[in-house]
Symmetry: C2
Subunit: 303 residues, 2 copies
Amino acid sequence: MEPFEIHILGCGSALPTTRHNASAQIIKIGNKQFMVDCGEGTQVQLRRNHIHFSFINHIFISHLHGDHCFGLIGLISTFGLLGRTAPLHIYADPMLEELMKPQIEFFCKGMHYPLFFHGIDTTRHQTIYEDNTITVETLPLRHRIPCCGFLFREKPKRRHLLGDVANFYNIPAYMRQSIKDGADYTTPEGEIIKNNRLTKDADPSRSYAYCSDTAPCNNSEFLRGVDLLYHEATFADSEKERAAQTFHSTAKQAAQTASDAGVKKLVIGHYSSRYETPSTLLAEARELFSNTIAATEGDIIRI
Amino acid sequence: MEPFEIHILGCGSALPTTRHNASAQIIKIGNKQFMVDCGEGTQVQLRRNHIHFSFINHIFISHLHGDHCFGLIGLISTFGLLGRTAPLHIYADPMLEELMKPQIEFFCKGMHYPLFFHGIDTTRHQTIYEDNTITVETLPLRHRIPCCGFLFREKPKRRHLLGDVANFYNIPAYMRQSIKDGADYTTPEGEIIKNNRLTKDADPSRSYAYCSDTAPCNNSEFLRGVDLLYHEATFADSEKERAAQTFHSTAKQAAQTASDAGVKKLVIGHYSSRYETPSTLLAEARELFSNTIAATEGDIIRI
């Protein structure tokens, strides 16, 4: 199967520490690369993780808190310095364009690539990106300001043609695509060979959901059965009041969300700077949802 | 003597690398801390170098290229999150205030400290900051956009009162300050004790100049005899045409400036990302000016 990888560039929260970077991820699906959030320092994290700048064409911003978007201006500017010509698409609350336009006009004069801002309505679940193989949907979240998560989903794939059987029947090349799409094959003699004798099941369509920042919210219906859920777990259970006040989640609440939605695997992140390590957060999440891991910068999580 | 230290937080240039951070320094003089330039990632560099955020009250920005100021919004925002109440003063081209105001209003709502932008005319040599012990002067530089360096200078200090002599003459406490300022002492019997018998020379008044970014320019008169000069050395001699085109300096040109002005020591920085190490740059500078060192992140250079 083609790669479907989450590269963790930053999984800290608002206050700077030397242990974590501000929020940013690269989602690699096949030969495509998508960025989710872009906190300060993301461009250096891309370098550190050997991710090619030129493959990044779509950036999704969950919300307009600095630790999720202050790295954008530097990245946009560096793309310009590197002579980029390919369009760059940024999906975010419409306010971002208004805030960044004057800076881009001033700092990125003479930039040779087009930059498109796509305003998103964070309160609605909708498909905001689609190409031949994947879709990206918004996941409304519950934070202090407008905020949404993102659900990356592979489209249904073609069935696998069984090479031996295809050769046995001498199936011509021009008919093979329709058979992968489910068609039967009729031999020159008029015999109908059922598709299930010619093909085996397609690879599963994988999915990844990013939910940060948010208080617990009812989005099980959208998260149902996803392969991997990245969910913020800013606080331990002992700080659940602070979590509620600031519209964040505890590790336990993240695990409850994963459990309610029946996701296959949970990765927690967005740790408060008060925690030296995420061990307490991880232990608390695992009590409720055992297939949980704790994100670390540099991690590549494969689906 | 009280400390006079330059903490190098970043000495890379515009393109991000994992070897260097974007430009930023802390100048510690006595118990005061000044920041010069604030590239992306500076707040994490402050943490890494154990520099207290709350002691930073004055930030001087040389010019409005991203690698010298993209870290400001994150720092200003973090100061707010940390509950800062002390005023923060930023000295920069007046355009910076215009560009940042909308972002600050949006991202730093409810911030409890006053923020003052002081517009500076980068084309003139003038004193832009003064307190009881130091002054900061602008140094006009020659770059693609308005740009100036900064000269930190201790004011003349008081002479040292010789304890033994003062006790011998029983000089009352209220007269000691004027003697440190150079006055003679008249004993109750009318004998005049000359100041040079009562005191020894004051500590020297130290000075530090920051010159980045710039093509070679005639500022020897302002740099004359400074203790330490930080000068950009973006390129090696083999790239001197590129240096001229982009209004940067070669290491050799930085050394020539140091030599012409008779500074005591030179530290080079702002290395182009093409150099894996600054060794060539350092060697080329030392050919002309032997007392040269190459800046590295984390360095503390004491004057």
